[in-house]
């Protein structure tokens, strides 16, 4: 394992310190328990939007703290859910007397820890649960689907509503709506190495890919030989389109997300290939996002996320945002 680090134990802390120092105009990092807030206090009456999850998916979530998006982020250890004390401390710090909305990805660990935080904290809270990964068969008997890259879209859109005065209930409803209208699926060309583990989470042969991989390197639908990009694209989008029941002339946001180790050139090539697939089906890409936003350490791979758009979602997508990793209109 080759990583820029001094010791496995200090890895996260030093990284957070660097993040805090590099973006002190936007955010402040707090330690023990760890959480990241905007550098300005929450306006009174504004719903506080707090997200969190295991580290290793940067810039998610810390990179999305700032005007128009999150009020705070709670980073757990690499690939491990944050603990309730982090969420409790964060929600106390960014409380604007209008309640807290937690954005939680659908993993047992995240759910239980956020639930405990909700029970133990003093203020009122609601939770939006993200479960956009269409690679996993859904079923009411099981944990259901994983939450992956659509989290970024939910955080942007709900963040915008909260910034413009949405109530806790309205934010919760909008978040659920974005999640319901989003689907994602990805493929990995390589594993990633959790610093504490020191060796790759899984192994892929020199010509293999993991189809439908999770953002922690969880195995996907199947292992397969690497295919041409256009075929990978067709298949991934096919599953998403079916799941979302996308119709002719529907308007969508297309998000091509890199897992961390795939160059931008390849992500844009995937965007091109996806556009061809979608053009063929008369589906209109009216908003786009391409880049490494919801990563899995240094994993090589990419995922597609599609969100069905309407006027409301477009408005909140376009509104100004000023965070370390996403910025426009300001």
């Amino acid at each position: 394992m080759k990583k820029f680090l001094n010791s496995k134990d200090d890895f996260l802390k030093e990284s957070l310190q660097g993040f805090g120092a590099a973006h002190q105009d936007i955010i402040t990092c707090h330690y023990d328990p760890n959480f990241i807030t905007r550098s300005e206090a929450t306006k009174r009456g504004k719903v506080a939007i707090i997200s969190g999850g295991g580290s290793g998916h940067e810039p998610m979530h810390g990179g999305f703290v700032g005007y128009g998006m999150l009020d705070a982020a709670c980073p757990g250890f690499i690939f491990s859910s944050p603990s309730p004390d982090q969420m409790i401390a964060a929600s106390e710090k960014v409380d604007g007397s209008a309640g807290t909305l937690f954005i939680v990805k659908n993993y047992s660990g995240d759910i239980m820890n956020f639930q405990m935080a909700s029970e133990m904290m003093t203020g009122v809270s609601e939770t939006v649960l993200i479960n956009d990964d269409v690679a996993v068969e859904d079923s009411s008997y099981t944990t259901g689907r994983r939450g992956v890259a659509a989290t970024v879209i939910v955080e942007k859109i709900v963040g915008s509503l909260a910034e413009t005065g949405g109530s806790l209930k309205e934010c919760k409803i909008l978040g659920d709506k974005v999640n319901r209208n989003s689907g994602s699926m990805g493929v990995a060309f390589s594993s990633c190495t959790v610093p504490a583990a020191g060796k790759p989470t899984f192994k892929l042969g020199p010509d293999e890919m993991e189809f439908g991989v999770g953002i922690h390197g969880e195995p996907g639908r199947r292992r397969d030989k690497v295919q041409p990009a256009q075929e990978i694209t067709n298949e991934l989008l096919g599953v998403i389109i079916e799941d979302l029941k996308l119709e002719n002339n529907g308007e969508i946001l297309l998000f091509v997300n890199g897992m961390g180790g795939t160059p931008l050139t390849e992500l844009y090539l995937l965007y091109d290939n996806a556009k061809k697939t979608l053009d063929n089906k008369n589906i209109k890409i009216s908003r786009s996002l391409v880049g490494n936003y919801c990563t899995s350490l240094e994993m090589q791979g990419a995922s597609f996320t599609i969100t069905k758009l309407d006027q409301e979602l477009k408005k909140h997508w376009d509104s100004p945002v000023h965070t370390a990793a996403m910025r426009w209109g300001l």
């Binding site: 250890f77 859910s81 583990a197 195995p219």
Partner: protein
């Protein structure tokens, strides 16, 4: 049974877990995200490090302190679950008046019930519940039937091992392994393995006193 019992067992558990670290690591890599061993090791370390504080606390406060260390130190699913176990035990009434084995078992049984609520998983879903629930049931029946403590410990060790092994052929329907569907079969659940090892460690320590 005092707080020294808690610390002594934490130290013994640390040894057992460290000795089986690479196996547990592998299990969570196979059907999870590979962090379970580090989560657990980190949690135990934090608990042991707080010995100077814990040893002067009452039983309820000591257990609560351990619960908080576990919650924040372990993180992830097992942090919430093990944390819930200890937090619930800390809240059982009258434990500061002294804890005998009977009371300790009742505390554990209450704790497991809370863990079951927290994770919404039952026996047969390929999680640590496949160890915790059978062990809790066995202990509960044991004290109802006034069984010999040492016999009961041996039974609990067996139940834990059986439960742990049973997870191998199960289809996971809760936790991260559930994302794998059919592919989860054929692997022992990491949380079941770590729970079983911890239970065995505590039971053995009681057997050896």
């Amino acid at each position: 049974m005092g707080t020294d019992f808690l610390i002594k067992n934490a130290k013994e558990i640390q040894v057992v877990i460290d000795n089986n670290a690479s196996e547990i690591e592998k299990l969570d890599q196979e059907i999870g995200d590979g962090d379970h061993i580090f989560n657990v090791q980190r949690g135990i370390k934090l608990v042991i490090e707080s010995e100077p504080i814990i040893k002067h606390l009452s039983m309820s406060k000591a257990l609560n302190q351990i619960a908080m260390k576990i919650l924040s130190g372990i993180g992830g699913s097992s942090g919430a679950l093990f944390g819930t176990l200890f937090m619930t035990m800390s809240k059982v009434s009258n434990i500061d008046d002294g804890v005998d084995y009977k009371k300790a078992i009742n505390m554990f049984v209450d704790g497991v019930e809370a863990v079951k609520q927290r994770g919404k998983a039952d026996v047969g879903e390929k999680t640590m519940m496949d160890v915790l629930i059978p062990v809790a049931n066995c202990l509960k029946q044991g004290i109802e039937k006034n069984k010999d403590l040492k016999d009961l410990m041996r039974e609990a060790i067996e139940e834990a091992e059986k439960g742990m092994l049973s997870t191998k052929d199960l289809l996971a329907t809760k936790g991260r392994a559930s994302f794998l569907g059919e592919r989860s079969k054929g692997h022992i659940d990491p949380g079941a393995r770590s729970s079983q090892l911890m239970i065995r460690s505590v039971c053995m320590s009681i057997l050896n006193t």
